[in-house]
Assembly symmetry: none
Homo-oligomer: 290 residues x 2
């Protein structure tokens, strides 16, 4: 049975949807350290994946092998092929795709961006930003540009769950003056402005600064002109092999900030989140679909 040319990894990919919870858990472990993790005994693998041995045996069957030993034999032979072929580099990302596949090129590039961004990122500055955002004495407003509005919205959604006094400023700049009025001295404005910097954002930043608002600006490596008005700036690398720029690194930093804010104000936000959860539950009950 089943000595056709499919690798174990491929079979797992193909059959992943048909796998059960415990089986997926196991599949993940196998792929995580592929294919070495499958080289030990069925017991060891099961323990490693925190499932029972029958689960392992069952999955082997499900993937089309006669049993675990047969799957293991296949893994061994794959390993042999990999090892003995010097051309097979182990640092490929999507293992079944050529090095030149967009996924792999993109991955290399994004890692590079992340590295370079973090190299230039001052940890102390990061901590200051976190402190500013954790301070509930002042309100936080979030605004983004044409393409970065999604980032603003993502950040807002999370911040909103952790603290009071957070506003997402609309996309449409004609309404911005109203928001400006509600920003007081010491309040915080989180702004996103990436390449193809927007004139409106610059004006907004200047006026906010004039009101004594502290501005945290997320921009690219070259820096938005709004930087002049900013209290803190974070420069992300955004170039990728694409017509478009990448927001991945910026989102990474946002998540790190969110996580830091969260742990800095855990006690406060814990209650808040529980309340929120309860509210969501309730709304769900009231909602009716179709």
């Amino acid at each position: 049975m089943s000595t056709d040319g499919f690798t174990v990894a491929q079979r797992i990919h193909d059959g992943f949807d048909g796998l059960t919870r415990a089986e997926r858990q196991l599949a993940n472990i196998i792929l995580e350290n592929y294919p070495v993790s499958g080289m030990g005994s069925i017991t060891a693998l099961a323990e490693n994946a925190e499932v029972s041995t029958p689960t392992v045996a069952r999955m082997a069957r499900k993937l089309g092998f006669g049993g675990f030993p047969e799957m293991q034999a296949q893994l061994r032979s794959e390993l042999e092929a990999t090892i003995s072929d010097p051309l097979t580099k182990h640092d490929k990302w999507a293992t079944d795709a050529p090095d030149t596949h967009i996924l792999n090129r993109f991955a290399d590039n994004v890692i590079d961006n992340l590295r370079n961004t973090l190299k230039h990122l001052n940890a102390a500055k990061f901590d200051q930003i976190v402190a500013l955002l954790s301070d509930t004495e002042h309100t936080v407003a979030v605004v983004g540009g044409r393409l970065s509005h999604a980032l603003a919205s993502y950040f807002f959604t999370h911040m909103q769950m952790m603290r009071d006094g957070v506003t997402l400023i609309e996309r449409n700049s004609s309404s911005w003056p109203h928001y400006l009025l509600s920003l007081k001295e010491g309040d915080v404005l989180v702004m996103f402005d990436m390449r193809r910097y927007e004139q409106d954002l610059l004006r907004f930043a200047e006026m906010a600064q004039a009101r004594g608002v502290k501005i945290i600006l997320f921009t690219d490596q070259w820096g938005s002109p709004a930087g002049k008005a900013a209290t803190h700036q974070i420069h992300s690398r955004i170039e990728v092999p694409s017509t478009w720029d990448s927001s991945v690194v910026t989102m990474f930093i946002l998540e790190a900030i969110i996580s830091a804010v969260q742990s800095q104000s855990w006690e406060r936000s814990k209650d808040r989140m529980e309340e929120l959860e309860a509210l969501f539950e309730k709304t769900r009950l009231f909602r009716k679909f179709v």
Copy 2:
């Protein structure tokens, strides 16, 4: 016993002079296809080297191991070290921050997530998804959950610039039935549903499927229940040292898809983008700020 830092190969070389004829024969076989040949059972190895099983066990002892299984364990761990991705071995990320700073912990974790996600991701599947999204014969609708709406919106914004017939479905699920009506057989629905899967999304997916709509589902490693109705699924790793889950990897994949769609339909989208640019320029002139 014997878990000092010497590899099996080193031990064999060092102790080669003290080995007997049968043992040397065996040693040569082990080194010949190192270290894979030692991964099978003692019986298999013995047969392969044309010696008896006791010879193998004896040699393992002679090399300083407690027995054959112990030697095999050592071989496995050597293998693991060889195979393991060089990209994990980084020098600190944010150089001026301690390893334990949230930025560095986050970075490690996200890279891990990316690597594991790509390991799971079938390049062929990716290409199919790109093809679906490039096909202008059918419309594309995008819908997200509570936290993933920002991703949906980000994706939508880019897609909208590259092709016609793209809709972003509102957050509020009470309006979804209307959107459903406009989806025809063969149309594409891009859905985001991460951990804390939403009931409404599941229903929506089922109803869309019933209408013959092709669903591309972005979910996490465990898989949203909406997967049952999906034509294609992409599972991203989302766990990070935070109360919240990470969307970085999903965004990475989105950007890769966007880039691929773009280059797949460059000629068409080029004109479109130039048109768009011109439009934006015009609007800017008409807009007045404050």
